[in-house]
Amino acid sequence: MRPGPLFACVALAVACPRPARAYAWMVRHGYTTCATCHVDPSGSGVLTPYGRAQGEILLQSRYSGKPGEEASPAANFLWNALRTPDWLLGGGEVRYLALRMKLGDGPTAGDLILMQGDLAAAVHAGGFRASGSLGYISTTGSPAAVGGQVVSREHWAGWAFDEGELLVRAGRMNVPFGIRSIEHTLFVRQATRSDLNDTQQHGVAVSYSAELIRGELMAIAGNFQIRNDANRQRGYSGYVELAPVTRFAIGVSSLVTHAAEDVRLRVANTRQAHGAFVRASPWRPLVLLGEADYVIQSPSGAPSQKGLATMLQADYEPWQGLHLIATGETLDVAGAGISYGGWLSAAWFFAPHLDIRADFMNRSEVIGATRYAVLAYMAQGHLYF
């Protein structure tokens, strides 16, 4: 494959619409579970009233110098311009990206991409829970598409027991596996196909969120937003995470799916991924996130591909709202050599519902049988409401 078409592939891999926020580094504040802030108990998506308040109290830079301020009304849905009944939670996000990328010896190319433009809502009435999103993206062919460039990343309904600690739900939802982070193009997310962008699956899941342990197990029925049933993956995915002490959590994940015709390999394929992950904040401004996943693909008529995808990320927050992030990652799955990469990123949550982010990514990536140097510069603005 020549670099030209490759650029499009890699650009898509790097810059596909980035999904709903999910900040695993909230562990620095002692939040090891996600269900306090998100309707999805494993994180991301529509915020609870508590989560909305934390978005201003803990996420955003504060300028008044007054300690212990309450969240302002602007933390509410649409900056408090539209009040919804208590049982209805609104939300949505817009994310726009400026990308410049250089692949191998090729020229540097750039693009402006509407990564995300989602409206979302959730219902929280007694034990009943439901959540759904509908959005528009500037690319086509997304497995989250319900038609053209209109996507629905999630839509599910369920019932919560024991004040929400136990939730049983069915519908289209994020695959429960590993660290749920917004960097959906990390090798660990790509290799396990468990990102927040567009790899959601339809199925039934049961989740549990308690102080010492949380987890979710999903029976995957396939992605019913793709037409060809043979492409649908069926199996399970799940994780269990223990939080034995404040600001530390360690977990394991497992996934096995089978598709009669894998959408990437074009043959029958059984995929497995089994791994471990850790979140730790040894010092409040610093959070370390790590994940290692052993990935096995067993395509029909071909030898199995086995290998490891890893990620280690350090998030340093010198001032509330400002994050300096360094990420290292490796991928060695196809036996053609180890791909590795490094990211340097800065994010600033500078105003209610608004943040900006810049990333520099340098990868040495094996694509097919050829190694390419991939340099990418990304700047993005993100608004949630």
């Binding site: 504040h29 002692g30 939040y31 090891t32 579970t33 269900a35 306090t36 108990p41 609870t48 009233p49 508590y50 308040a53 109290i57 803990l58 300690p67 212990g68 301020e69 309450e70 004040e163 929400g164 600690e165 969120s209 308690a210 102080e211 949380r214 939080a243 404040t246 409040r284």
Partner: protein
Amino acid sequence: MHGCAAWLTALVLAAAQPKISRPEVLFIAHGSLGMRIEGKTPDLSLTRSGEVLEFAVQLATLQTGIELRDRHMRDEVLEVQRFPVATLRVTNPPPRAGKTAGTTRAELTVHGQTRPVDVSFQVASRGGYDVTATFRMDLRDYGMNAPTYLGIKVKPEIDVSADFHLDAP
């Protein structure tokens, strides 16, 4: 079960001015949906009155890591303007040597109300004595309401521990 407390009491009584160092008082509150709140203060003092030991914590110094939460805790739960100090009184256990861990009955005063609590403790000799004590209290027993905030409830049972070094006399 009173052996270690007695031993510790005898030790402290033998000192004209009981002195503690490296103190840390920690509480852990448990909330709904897996929330855990951890609060700390190093502000622990120890005084002797006859054969009674009294540990005191300045509640306004407790910190949970989130300033707004601290303010809610101080103003709405503990009401530190009216009740600034929590005390734990250990009274006159009979001296008996040989144990380094046990449980003793003490009196805990918080929010202006006093209730008995069972305190578990461990003592280790290390250039003086390293002491760890733990107990569980129920906010409702002391006239306090377990807080709720934007749908998240905190359970009324609170785990409390204290670690300090008791200097040798």
